[in-house]
Every structure is written in structure tokens, then in C-alpha cells.
């Protein structure tokens, strides 16, 4: 658990935030009102999204609770057939994690027999994130969210088929 909570190292995200704040500071030296307006707009935006982030956090816990990496590995093997495509779609939608964790994980699964097409399907469906959907609905409406999600799923299959056709699996 200690490992999950992390150590006192500064991560890349915090470094990025510090760089942005330094950028703000430099511009403030030349034009304070611009920085003040930008910061006030940022605060307005942040106040609006904080309650939504609470909902996102709860849904993320639920998804983590019911969906583990072990379950994906079990269902995406080389002989997974049509079921493998469906699992790849569902896994892509449900599994959370930054690319720097998912790419090496998928690299390992590929070595264990996961097809290129299924990797592509998995990665494409990462675009639908259930915990984040309330935010998309809030900004763009339910119709937009449903239609976009529908096309993502359809095009994920097309994506997998084209990649499977262009890149042959090493057996």
C-alpha cells in the first residue's frame, strides 16, 4: 500500500505545473492584468469542475474494484476469437491508467500472444471512459456523448481490422 501511495519524489505532473506557474510569474512581471484575468478564469473553471471530479473519483474506485489487469490477460490471448474482440473493447473502456503504464503492459501481453488487432481495439476504446462521461454530458449534451461513443466503438473494430491486415502477428 505504501508503494501505491508513492514516495516523496516530485512526479512529472508537478514539474509541469511548476513550469506553468513560473510562466505565469514571468508574464505577470510584464502584464499583471493578463495573468490576473487568466487566473480568475481558471478559478471559475475549477470551481465548476470540482463536484464532477468527486463523481469521477467514485466511479473510478468502482471500476478498479470490479476490473483487474489479471482479468484482461486471461481473456485476450491468441485464441480468444470473437470473444477476444469483445473483451478488448470492454477492457479498453473499463481499464484506467496512463499510457506509460498501459503500453508496457500491452507489450507484455503481446509477447504472451495478444494480437496486434486486439491491442489496437483496446487502445482505441480508451477514448470512452465511463467515469468521465458525466463531464462530457455536462459540456456537450447526452446526444453528442452517445453518438460519439457509438462511433468510437464501431471505428475501434475498423481500426483493429486495418492494423491486423497491415501488421502481421509474429507467431
Amino acid at each position: 500500500m505504501k508503494k501505491l501511495m508513492g514516495k516523496n519524489k516530485i512526479n512529472g505532473g508537478i514539474k509541469f505545473l511548476i513550469i506553468v506557474l513560473i510562466f505565469y510569474l514571468i508574464i505577470a512581471l510584464f502584464n499583471f492584468s493578463v495573468v490576473k484575468n487568466a487566473f480568475l478564469n481558471f478559478l471559475t473553471m475549477l470551481i465548476k469542475i470540482i463536484p464532477m471530479l468527486g463523481i469521477v473519483f467514485i466511479i473510478m474506485i468502482l471500476v478498479n474494484l470490479f476490473f483487474t489487469k489479471q482479468k484482461i490477460a486471461k481473456h485476450l490471448g491468441e485464441n480468444s476469437g470473437t470473444k477476444g474482440w469483445i473483451y478488448a473493447m470492454i477492457s479498453g473502456i473499463l481499464v484506467s491508467g496512463p499510457p506509460y503504464i498501459l503500453f508496457p503492459l500491452l507489450g507484455n501481453l503481446k509477447k504472451e500472444g495478444m494480437k496486434n488487432s486486439l491491442v489496437a481495439v483496446f487502445l482505441y476504446n480508451r477514448n470512452i471512459k465511463i467515469p468521465f462521461l458525466p463531464v462530457m454530458i455536462y459540456y456537450f449534451g447526452l446526444n453528442f456523448t452517445v453518438i460519439l461513443s457509438f462511433y468510437i466503438i464501431i471505428f475501434s473494430v475498423l481500426n483493429g481490422k486495418i492494423i491486423g491486415w497491415l501488421i502481421k502477428d509474429r507467431i
Binding site: 508537478i14 509541469f16 487566473f39 453528442f144 501488421i167
Partner: protein
């Protein structure tokens, strides 16, 4: 399942979500700060870049999304705010799509883990798909 085991899994899920937030939150805050700053300078130019053209708008949106990074929720927030500034929904849709399907910043890592050919083809294909999906989404929205 025993109560102690359930409690452990719940705790693990909680800390995993917390870890995702801990990593993503500073990037999200940084990007939102940056977007609000850029918005002040770029506001007047949006109408010149995004003219409402059905091909050029999603192309510009997809290009912007391809070079951005962070969890998808950040792209929704930025997209929502840009929509208020008058940028077309078709450009926003392409931006959101390419944000998480095309990753120029993560391309070296993807190539290392999944192969150079795989990474290049996948990202190229996803860039085209981002434009196509955004056009289809807006056309479908007009029907419903």
C-alpha cells in the same frame, strides 16, 4: 469472500484511484492554467482559424489534440470552454478524439513497447479517424 479480503480490495481500489488522481491532477491543473492564459491571447484569432469549414476545422482540432496530453477529462473541459468561445463543435469533437487516440508525446514509448511500425500506423490511422468521426458525429447530431 471474507470481510477482511473485501476490505483489502476496496482499499486497494481506493488507493489506485487516488494514485491516478495524484498523477493526473497536477497535469490537469497545469493544462487548464495554460489554456486560460493562451485563451486571453488567442481569443481574437479563433474565428480566423476555425471558420466553420467541415474539413479544415476538424483538421485543426485533430492537430491540436494530437500534440496535447493528459487524461481525457481535461480535453472535455478545454473543449467545453473553447465551445463557449465560439469554436465549432466539429473541431472540438476532432480535438477530443485525437487527444486520447493520437499521442505524439507518447510515440517513443509506444514504439518501444509495441513496435515502431505498429505505433506509426496506429497513430496515423487514428488521426484520420478523428477527423472522420467528428464529421460523422456532427452529421448524425443534425439528424437527431
Amino acid at each position: 469472500m471474507k470481510f477482511a479480503s473485501r476490505k483489502f480490495i476496496l482499499k486497494k481500489s481506493f488507493f489506485k484511484a487516488l494514485q491516478t488522481f495524484k498523477t493526473s491532477f497536477p497535469i490537469m491543473i497545469g493544462i487548464l492554467l495554460l489554456v486560460n492564459l493562451i485563451n486571453i491571447f488567442a481569443k481574437d484569432y479563433y474565428s480566423k482559424i476555425f471558420t466553420g469549414n467541415i474539413i479544415l476545422d476538424p483538421l485543426a482540432g485533430a492537430l491540436a489534440g494530437s500534440f496535447s496530453f493528459g487524461i481525457p477529462i481535461t480535453s472535455y473541459i478545454i473543449g467545453g470552454e473553447l465551445l463557449k468561445e465560439g469554436i465549432s463543435l466539429i473541431a472540438i469533437a476532432a480535438f477530443i478524439m485525437s487527444w486520447s487516440t493520437v499521442g505524439m508525446a507518447m510515440l517513443p514509448l509506444e514504439a518501444k513497447s509495441l513496435g515502431k511500425r505498429f505505433a506509426l500506423i496506429r497513430n496515423g490511422l487514428n488521426f484520420i479517424f478523428a477527423i472522420v468521426i467528428s464529421i460523422l458525429t456532427i452529421l448524425t447530431l443534425k439528424v437527431f
